[in-house]
Symmetry: C2
Subunit: 444 residues, 2 copies
């Protein structure tokens, strides 16, 4: 017998909340399709050997094993912690069946064994788009990905989701800069910079000394770089003014400048170069992205990603890619906060309750429901024969706007329970207005 068993970090939505979550997912799916991304759905598990890397992430893996298996499994499995690693493996599995560049969209749960906290869960939904090419990935895809995400957020605006600022950087720029000033432990430099917003520049300086052996001048230069932020391609001048030289720095600067120029034209103000952005995950090799909800920066990034050149290799072929992941569950944390004002008109799909006044006449009510459904109008038949008042309260409790009576004064009648208006109606022709047809999401 089932008992109540809430689990911290595993959010579940009530019906009206799920209407909102699903509306967000629908907008994202639709936007991804408009941009030509093929929808995929990855299996939940991967061999742990695919998931556990040298990076920090292996702490967070949920292992999966058959409860009654005897001894150790030959091929131990874990739940995927993102949608990039499964895509890379999917491409390795199916390279011969796919056409490249391959554009993939996935919206599904991922799992991490982290300590749950506000906006961070153990099971959460991500919405990812990626472009993966064979051998060469043209730089314009590094522009396309954040602009597709920006388009998705602009299509979420009618639901009440605030605008976004997508902040970008380039791993090559950071690595080239670090090497150019004589630092060699690049992973340590990236890890330190990644903490800039959390601990501030002074602490990052100390950390650079401790972890990357940076002297005072090297710290000063790193912090000067990290402070650069601009939505104009001219940010490159500020970098050049620091007087550091390295071929990788040039490569990263060129790429980021091109991105900003294109973004400036196609979505002015949305994409901003922010040179302190490093991203924790170790597989990025070019552009990196984070996304802030304007006015709600404290939420952290709601869409992140980057370019990865060496995640997929099949035989001698490499498949470089670039992608971003929208944190649907983190967005939901913001939306479900009462302050957001975002609500659903109702949690049930039904627009109509067909009343049953006598259990022997349930068949008549069923026939009305069948006729309405044939014309795409969601409805339900009253669960029990009852007086009019009880039928109306049943609808009211669920936010269903209409009650249908098969035996009104003039035969079939429909009542709008909000206005109290009741009028004759024909199950073959009656139509609700669009706003009543389906549950809608709106901002109060």
């Amino acid at each position: 017998m089932a008992k109540s068993a809430r689990l911290s970090g595993f959010p579940e939505r009530l019906p009206a909340e799920r209407v909102i979550e699903r509306s967000i997912i629908d907008v994202l799916e639709h936007t991804f399709a408009l941009h030509g991304y093929s929808a995929l759905n990855h299996r939940a598990v991967e061999p742990i050997s695919q998931l556990a890397k040298d990076g920090e992430i292996d702490k967070e893996i949920f292992a999966v094993s058959r409860l009654h298996s005897e001894g150790t499994e030959r091929n131990p499995l874990g739940l995927h912690f993102d949608l990039t690693v499964p895509l890379a493996r999917f491409i390795a599995d199916n390279a011969n069946e796919l056409s490249f560049p391959f554009k993939a969209a996935r919206i599904q749960p991922v799992w991490r064994g982290e300590r749950p906290q506000q906006g961070r869960y153990r099971e959460f939904i991500q919405a990812d788009i990626d472009v993966v090419a064979e051998a060469e990935l043209p730089g314009h895809f590094e522009v396309e990905i954040p602009l597709a995400v920006a388009d998705a957020f602009s299509r979420l605006a009618p639901l009440g989701v605030p605008g976004v600022k997508i902040v970008v950087n380039d791993r090559r720029l950071l690595e080239g800069f670090a090497r150019g000033i004589g630092l060699t432990n690049i992973q340590a430099v990236l890890r330190c910079l990644d903490k800039y917003d959390k601990i501030g520049p002074a602490e990052v300086g100390k950390l650079l000394a401790a972890e990357a052996e940076a002297d005072e001048e090297q710290q000063r230069l790193c912090l000067a770089l990290a402070a650069i932020e601009s939505d104009s391609p001219d940010f490159a001048d500020d970098v050049r003014a620091l007087g550091v030289e390295h071929p990788l720095l040039d490569e990263g600067l060129d790429s980021l400048t091109t991105m900003l120029r294109a973004a400036h034209e196609r979505a002015p103000g949305v994409v901003v170069a922010q040179l302190k952005i490093a991203r924790g995950l170790d597989y990025y090799t070019g552009a990196v992205y984070e996304t802030q909800l304007i006015g709600h920066e404290e939420l952290g990034s709601v869409a992140s990603g980057g370019r990865y050149d060496s995640l997929v290799t099949v035989g001698k072929k490499s498949y470089p890619g670039v992608g971003m992941s929208i944190g649907v569950s983190r967005l939901m944390a913001f939306i479900l906060d009462a302050d957001s004002g975002i609500k659903a008109t109702r949690g049930t799909p039904s627009a109509v309750v067909v009343a049953v006044t006598d259990e022997d006449k349930r068949g008549e009510a069923d026939a009305v429901a069948t006729a309405l459904r044939a014309r795409d109008i969601a409805c339900e038949v009253s669960p029990s024969a009852a007086k009019f008042g009880k039928q109306i309260r049943y609808a009211e409790r669920r936010g269903i706007p209409f009650v249908w009576f098969t035996e009104g004064e003039s035969g079939h009648e429909i009542k709008d329970i909000r206005s109290g208006e009741q009028a004759p109606a024909n199950p073959q022709t009656w139509e609700p207005v669009a706003a009543d047809r389906k549950p809608l999401v709106y901002r109060d």
Copy 2:
């Protein structure tokens, strides 16, 4: 770095296959909404204490644990193996927030550690609808559930899915009959009957003797009952003719007769009483359902379920329910078999490739794509500047019907690559026909 890692029993779909799977899911979601079922999405995990019952099912559970947790977890978790147990727990968690009778729909993966075989997976998608009431569940919901499922299958017919026969029985009828002839190990009787189709009546007779201590006359009566099959409510006469009496038998017979009468009226021929149906799961207490694809009975049941009166209890309140689960992955096994003839027109959402003939003019192509997307036409911009022929082959390989040229003889032109026809086009007004707008599923 990702390596190829196919896992037996964890199917993943290629893009065109996913178009088909998603079309099926869309039809089911839409049908469930039309019938007033609120969409929910359960977390993937439950405490193992909720999942592991006395029944056989506990062998099949996948346990989940943090890879780097120290010692044993206080609250060990497992992946859910169906969508009924999570719903029961969800209701126990949220009874005060829900209105009853509560109608829930869920379409999501479940996991079982079974040995994979044709149509049976370790991760598979189920589509469930359930009605759960407070204290009393009116019998008409036992009719509503299979009729909603029948409606779903009739809406899948245009995609090429064959018609179905929903076979029904009632646990009370079986239990009452068994008790009426003096058998007391009811679980054993149900288990034996459940093997009727696999091993045949003679072997079921032997099994009844061995496991339920049935003598020859008891075996004869059980097998006579199991042989009864009819789409008419008159099947009850055949049961009565066996001369067995028990109050529970009467209750089950009444309920099943009512169901067949209503089904006979609303969906003639679809619902058939088949008294050998028992279902393996131990939580059913009333109606039980299985569903056969007509002409493909060897696939086994593609939609099963039943009534459960004691799955949810909160304090002193009980919440009886009834539901069915459509096996989406099992349906997909049938559909992806070449013999089904079911195909998708393409695996990419794009209806148009906007050609780029010169990398410097990519901005013009981007502008066309933006204009088309603003009018809900999915498209992509060519990944690299190339000659016309190469752009057309790019579209061809993906099944994309149209290529847009920004510099045709008369300016903007669109080419239907199937007919070769090319005509002037305006990005603000050009429309594809409906059949080309999105990937479609059809039967060859």
